[in-house]
Assembly symmetry: C2
Homo-oligomer: 131 residues x 2
DNA sequence: CTTGACCCGATACCCCGGTACCGGGTTGAC
DNA sequence: GTCAACCCGGTACCGGGGTATCGGGTCAAG
């Protein structure tokens, strides 16, 4: 698969692929005789994975770590487990905060027809007095 | 409260406060005779709110919107509600994706002592074959 | 009345995650 | 055998979100 094809099927642009390659996120692919990159089919999944992780708020450096986790054998398990566990608690905190924010917005939507004093939004409510 | 005090109690640096002020996130505070900024006590909560929202993946532009929601009266309710609703579904999607990622990492932690073929991580597992 | 910690505005710079542009080579359908 | 569509490496640029630095004014303890 050439770079244009990979780019369009993974939904990124060609420059971005080269950028990922430079950053070490995407292994350097084989080259055709004339120097064109020849990606294996799995590259599509890798690139999509990168995008997904990014949407979830992981940085590219973290994505690199995440990709490393997948490859480690049982020999590297302790390190792998430590990394995964750390990411996990990070994730849990973020989920909890987002849920709080979500509940808070739900309340706002439910009550925002009322005068300010009767609204109920713990998140935004604390700012009601100012500005 | 002067800028240094606000900065340290909200956990940001003084330049950042000025940056937020330029961006319109933080109202211009009153000034002392000699031109020093004099922030009201609530500024601490506002700045902390900004940081929290950012950690959750909101951009500063979105934070501005969020701050706007708090102030809107019932007259601007329709617009407010629309914005809040939109953010809400956005939030819900992100929560769902993060939960998927969390479950996936949990499985990895649970099973990563086994040989690769017996591990169970839908997220990372799909990358097991390559690299 | 000096000295150190603080503040001011302005400007420049930094990292991240790309994106665009350049001059030039390759491919392949017509 | 030409022409559009693709690819190459290199380099420059962009927007977001700050951070650092400069030259100078202010405040308060000693």
């Amino acid at each position: 698969m050439r770079s244009g094809e990979l780019a369009s099927s993974a939904g990124v642009n060609v420059q971005t692929l080269r950028y990922y390659e430079r950053r070490g996120l995407l292994a350097e692919p084989a080259r055709s005789g004339s120097g064109y990159r020849a990606y294996p089919g799995e590259a599509v999944r890798i690139v999509r994975f990168i995008r997904r992780a990014q949407r979830l708020g992981f940085t590219l450096a973290e994505v690199e770590t995440l990709l490393g986790l997948a490859g480690g054998g049982p020999d590297r398990c302790a390190a792998t487990r430590a990394l995964a566990t750390e990411k996990l608690s990070d994730l849990e905190n973020r989920i909890a905060e987002l849920c709080f924010m979500r509940d808070s917005l739900r309340n706002l939507v439910r009550t925002c027809g009322r005068p300010a004093a009767q609204r109920d939004c713990p998140l935004l409510g604390e700012l009601e007095e100012e500005r």
